[in-house]
Subunit: 304 residues, 2 copies
Amino acid sequence: MSKLPSLKNLSYLLALHQHQNFNRAATACNVSQSTLSSGIQNLEEQLGCQLIERDHKSFLFTGMGEEVVEQARRILTSTEELLYFAQSQGKTMEGPLRIGCIPTIAPFLLGDLSKKLQRDYPNLQLNIREDTTTNLLHLLRNGELDVLVLALPIDIQGNQSYVLGRDPFKLVMHKTLAEKLEEPVQYNKLPDNSIFLLEKEHCLTGHAVAACELADSSKINPFTATSLHSLVQMADAGLGATFLPQMAIDRGILNGTDLVALKPTGKEASRDIGLVYRPTTNRRQTFRRFAEVVAQLLPEPLLE
Amino acid sequence: MSKLPSLKNLSYLLALHQHQNFNRAATACNVSQSTLSSGIQNLEEQLGCQLIERDHKSFLFTGMGEEVVEQARRILTSTEELLYFAQSQGKTMEGPLRIGCIPTIAPFLLGDLSKKLQRDYPNLQLNIREDTTTNLLHLLRNGELDVLVLALPIDIQGNQSYVLGRDPFKLVMHKTLAEKLEEPVQYNKLPDNSIFLLEKEHCLTGHAVAACELADSSKINPFTATSLHSLVQMADAGLGATFLPQMAIDRGILNGTDLVALKPTGKEASRDIGLVYRPTTNRRQTFRRFAEVVAQLLPEPLLE
DNA sequence: TCGTTTAATTAGTATTTTCGATTATGATAA
DNA sequence: TTATCATAATCGAAAATACTAATTAAACGA
């Protein structure tokens, strides 16, 4: 069996991929350009295939090169995790914690969360990324994030997860519109096209439609918003109603508006908030503790 | 950030864990005992924690040492996979393929399968392990196997899977017992304690009970068998009936007996045969092609 | 007590890695 | 056109490291 590529050379490859320039990559690695250059050549020789195409002056990663980069990133991440795990003697709630969170949770959770975590666990270094579910899962897979706070259920693609709590949906509309309605609101009392939702990239939309038994799509306005705040503004302008998560309402998203929140139809009109992490992690203890802290900030904590 | 541990030292640690002896481990690594010894010490220093307890003469892995071994095994496996992937230029159906298979599938599949694979893909080196579902999943996780052929549904623990085909259950009994029965067999026509099953370690048992709607446990004999062949012998001796997968019957497990196979109750009286692999694999193409070959050998192939 | 087996240690050697300087190539500006 | 700049590859010397053989020290069994 031929010799394994060295982690050092793999990290050179990653740096080169990131900086797309030998000198800058070398600087980032704290080595000379020649070291990095020969490291890459070495790697290509060991792997027996071309990773980058050199066309004098510049270069380009080959398809294989890109694949190797992906794989190498995972290997290096695992090794870094091993190192950190051992160095911290497996202690919980220490070291960097890279959290991914979706846009319909992040603004209503992370403020209080990071305040609390920084107070109670000063050795925990938080690093937060807000993005769509799909992108976050990709970053998790590649080891660029440690743990995700998402709305479930979703396809977690080979990761592990558990539910932290429930976040009820409320039907939000201008108070003048709400006057003649009683809870739970029957959607057929609403005019057609009067319910506004987020773009379908946001899982909130799907979850709300499912949980609130909003089968009658004629009530849904085809115009979609890009954020909860624009939904609020549209509703406040009297254009119609919308669904908002209780979390957002609790953090005052309706303050200064003339909107009221009503209970919608659907006996489980809520979304689940859950934690997702790689099955190969060695930080389950930390994630568990983290989960408990997050759960305390949810409208309906649900953690055995 | 401190320096990453080297793959070499990690492999020394794995060898030591495997051989539990510095000399033998060193020999296995093709290095001298002193090299391995200092490699381990080096590693302990880098990781900043004790991995093995030395009590003069002998040694013992610490808890942390065991954890590090687990993690290191994954890292090395990934790196080996990367190496092989690159060296084979990502070609499919080449190189070693380490297959795990359960005892109620293996004997009726692997003969034909390996013959076929060796003929069509001479560059594929098969390596087959037969064990229980639980053990196979553990070996898969640790990178000691590449792909599993199992009966689904089961908890695949963060792995990925798909179904290859269906394998119907048949109720097998002595022909004299079968004379007065009609298909599908109503279990209440059978005497109490007359159905023999495998030990509960075999998932076949659970699958059969569920799929064949065998709720009435008074029919099940508490004595359990350890292999399908002993079930056959017990049934042939007239002790009672049993469930066998169609695969086994097709490969002639009833030859030379006075047993007949009847259709049992249950509108989906069958188990699914599926493939399981790590989500981080880079050999999906190979697994897919492999799956197609396996599917062709199943009673009811089911692969889109 | 002596010989055996074990892992750690030591000192010398071999190998690998790294750097700085240099070269070669193309792009850009004068 | 020529000079200048930026890029990546190459080369030889220096530094760091990995490795070995021989030795030590401790434990065990005959």
